[in-house]
């Protein structure tokens, strides 16, 4: 059971939902954008959105830029 997060393959571990995955990765979900298999997942849906084998996940943040 493996997933790809931000371009890097990782074991899925015990996470059943995206919220659990973010917690396991140590990500503070505030003001982050999460995509699952190309679909943007609103923050309110993270606790109910399942994460499964082979998922492609992107976790995006704001940084300095011009």
């Amino acid at each position: 059971m493996a997933i790809t997060v931000n371009g890097k393959t990782r074991p899925l571990g015990d996470a059943k939902t995206l919220a659990e995955l973010l917690a396991a990765l140590g990500v503070n979900a505030s003001r982050k954008a999460v995509e699952r298999n190309g679909q943007i997942i609103p923050a309110s849906d993270l606790p109910t959105t399942p994460v499964a084998d082979n998922d492609q996940i992107e976790i995006i943040q704001f940084v300095g830029g011009g």
């Binding site: 931000n6 371009g7 990500v27 503070n28 976790i59 704001f62 940084v63 830029g65 011009g66």
Partner: protein
């Protein structure tokens, strides 16, 4: 000059600042505060899960009561990628402003006009306030305005080059024809460049590298703010047109070597 209003929002400063390249978030915050700037751009990137999974605290350093935060689409090479970034920014931060920045070539970082127009058409329909970064192309500027962008952002020179107003003649055509605000973006290196942009008719300027990479970013932000204020005050004071040849500023009569008989 008329008040600066973009997408219904009134701005009191004609200086916008990009938040990249600052030595620290505190320096960035101080520079923004010292300049009175009311619009800043930010970028979106992946969270670095190995080094900093908590994430960048950038947004916590910006006061949404004082500055409009405009995510950019830097890194995008196609309309599709830019649209994806804009939607992510809206999902993550609720931001409905977007600076379209589509730069397929990493050497010159010049914007792709065709992909920019395509992305603008889609994002305007989705309700975004679109600020497109473009080459100083008057025809493209008009096409974007017709597509419903909130402003146009023609470049003065390549990003980060500090070369100043290399596109002056084309910028003059853009400002003469634009019905949306013109933000001169990219390549302004000195406060005098920003003043010259306002004097030629631009509504405001966006500066990042020249401020953030200065030895004293706070001092440089203040200097740019003064420059755009001085340019505006000068325009409001009614400058005389340039003319070929001289026009004496001292009287041409009453010279002390004149004699009555001559």
């Amino acid at each position: 000059m008329n008040a600066l209003i973009i997408a219904g929002h009134t701005f009191h400063s004609r200086l916008f600042i990009g938040t990249g390249k600052f030595g620290s978030h505190d320096l960035m915050r101080q520079a923004i505060e010292a300049s009175g700037c009311e619009l800043v751009t930010v970028a979106l990137r992946r969270v670095d899960l190995d080094k900093n999974p908590e994430g960048d605290p950038l947004l916590s350093k910006l006061d949404p009561e004082k500055v409009v935060v405009v995510p950019n689409t830097s890194g995008a090479r196609t309309a599709e990628e830019a649209i994806r970034i804009a939607r992510l920014a809206r999902a993550a931060g609720g931001f409905d402003w977007v600076k379209l920045e589509l730069t397929p070539n990493l050497h010159h970082l010049l914007p792709d006009p065709i992909e920019t127009l395509k992305a603008a058409e889609v994002l305007v329909k989705e309700g975004f306030k679109v600020l497109p970064y473009i080459n100083a192309d008057p025809v493209l500027a008009k096409r974007l305005e017709e597509a419903g962008t909130a402003a146009v952002m023609p470049l003065a020179a390549p990003i980060g080059s500090n070369l100043g107003l290399r596109t002056r003649d084309m910028l003059e055509i853009i400002v003469a024809n634009a019905r949306v605000p013109v933000v001169v973006d990219a390549g302004l290196g000195m406060p005098s460049h920003a003043a010259a942009a306002i004097e030629l008719g631009a509504d405001c300027v966006l500066v990042n590298t020249a401020i953030a990479a200065a030895a004293d970013p706070v001092g440089m932000a203040k200097a740019f703010a003064k420059a755009v204020e001085a340019a505006e005050e000068g325009l409001n004071a009614g400058p005389r047109a340039a003319r070929a040849g001289a026009e004496a500023s001292s009287p041409l009569t009453g010279f002390l070597w004149q004699t009555e008989n001559r």
